[in-house]
Symmetry: C2
Subunit: 311 residues, 2 copies
């Protein structure tokens, strides 16, 4: 099978984006634990993969931004990455966060000098908040539809390619990381199998692919605060139909078990959403296959909350 990449997402473009990332954005440890590969993106600077896309965007746009700077809407990890990158590049940044965003993540954004604006939890309320920032002359990153965001995410696939994976399991919210990782990996090896994972209570991409049309959830119920999208992103949705081999749903209990396993066996702190891929693997829903890798996409969990989960 041959995969035709969109013009904005060729391997050459992803490779160029990877080379331009700051050296602080590391190739994360690629570890084998009990025969399974763990890509430890929780050990990435800012504790999650989002910093890749933010830095890529800033590499493209930092010079033209002016003093108003950059903004985006995020439930947490994207905002944390934005704050770090803003400081790194010397650009003012504003995160539109949700009232349900975890306080630990809000504090982290502020600690790194980012502005925080709260909006309601619905897509409409967030859109309105972003619109208000645009009116002030701030450049707003449309992380659901900007192909360059996916190019940034795709650099993770490039880092994982070094391990020559045969099957890769990836948590999904709007589906950006999922399709972007596939975009990089399948251009290198079309036979690599790409599996996306969502919590049962936040399964918009599962539902959309099952029905062959973009579905929107009325309610989202999950403790995975990094995976709370109520719909796929438009661009991820377009790509998912071709680039994703399988979607799997996991229970909250399976996620909790995975977080605990990672502490006990792998000595890693991974947040609930970041552990969803491992949860799917450990619950026996994914075919055993040599060369299976799980992306541990983030580790930003407050210590007190982790304590509750593992006690």
């Amino acid at each position: 099978m041959h995969y035709e990449a969109p013009e904005w997402g060729t391997l050459e473009k992803i490779e160029a984006a990877r080379r331009a990332l700051p050296q602080e954005v590391v190739v994360p440890p690629l570890r084998q634990v009990d025969g399974l590969g763990l890509m430890c993106e929780n050990l990435q600077v800012t504790g999650a993969y989002k910093v890749r896309a933010i830095c890529h965007i800033l590499n493209l746009k930092a010079r033209g931004l002016g003093e108003k700077g950059l903004a985006l809407a995020s439930s947490g990890n994207f905002a944390v990455a934005l704050a770090w990158a803003g400081r790194h590049y010397g650009v003012p940044v504003t995160a539109v966060m949700m009232r349900r965003s975890h306080p630990w993540k809000v504090e982290r954004v502020r600690a790194w000098g980012g502005q925080v604006v709260f909006s309601g939890d619905s897509t409409e309320e967030r859109t309105a908040a972003l619109h208000a920032l645009t009116e002030q002359g701030i450049h707003v990153v449309d992380h659901l539809n900007d192909p360059e965001v996916l190019v940034g995410h795709a650099t993770l696939g490039l880092d994982l390619a070094a391990a020559r994976p045969r099957q890769v399991i990836i948590p999904a919210s709007t589906g950006g990381l999922l399709v972007a990782t596939s975009l990089a990996l399948k251009q290198i090896d079309p036979l690599v199998r790409i599996v996306g994972v969502q919590p049962k209570g936040a399964n918009a991409m599962v539902d959309s692919l099952r029905n062959g049309e973009l579905r929107r959830l009325d309610t989202v119920v999950t403790e995975c605060d990094a995976l709370t999208a109520n719909r796929p992103g438009d661009l991820p949705w377009q790509l998912a139909q071709q680039w994703v081999d399988e979607m799997v749903e996991v229970s909250e209990e399976a996620v909790r078990d995975a977080v605990r396993y990672l502490v006990e066996e792998a000595k890693l702190v991974v947040e609930p959403g970041g552990a969803a891929g491992l949860a799917a693997y450990r619950s026996g829903q994914i075919p055993e296959q040599e060369g299976t890798w799980v992306v541990l996409s983030g580790g930003n969990i407050a210590p007190a909350r982790l304590a509750e989960w593992i006690a």
Copy 2:
């Protein structure tokens, strides 16, 4: 300054030992967090550095062991490593553990097929238990005095040398890891500064170096269950006077703070003893110096106990 290595511990011998280790004994991630280097030996297979020495010993002796196998006395991490290596090499192994050894570590030894024998906590009681095993024809590793154990530990220094450290902070119990790491690093760069760290309540090496003679503690009081030696090992003690630049003591509170910091900022699970080096650094007792690395020597802590520490 020139350091004259003992004949058994030349750089060539340490390098040969490193090359012979099983591939599962990885070069652990070397990470920069907030400008400080973290050598993540907690992410080593078996969750601590001890597996290096056990595998080195088995590389030397496995063929001659016969069916009785290998034994050693350990409060925990050495026993866990012994059990893993016994399974890996197909050699029967017996760990003499203490009644105060943490149940999580005892269970882990058994899970990997190791025999566990309990002895009292005093050196005399452990010696008696080991003597009984010797009588049964089991080969007992004298991990306080066997130079080959130090050669095994020294492979860690070799792995860290890739980061070109200028100052290295290392937790110490009997002092084996401390002097062995120095043995490797100072043969490569005599200017590297080696700092050992002990809990205030288990400071036998500090006390011995301060007094210029090997001191034995009457009581050991610390939550760092990997650092409970009541005296330096004989061989580490001989080497420490030349190969260690400074010793520092840390409070239990500083250790607790370091464990919490590692969870929150570095997304790493590190056991109390493994975090003692970072505790010393964070409590401001060690001169700031570019190229400072802390060895996080182990991560074997029961999830329920970690939960208490970070809640």
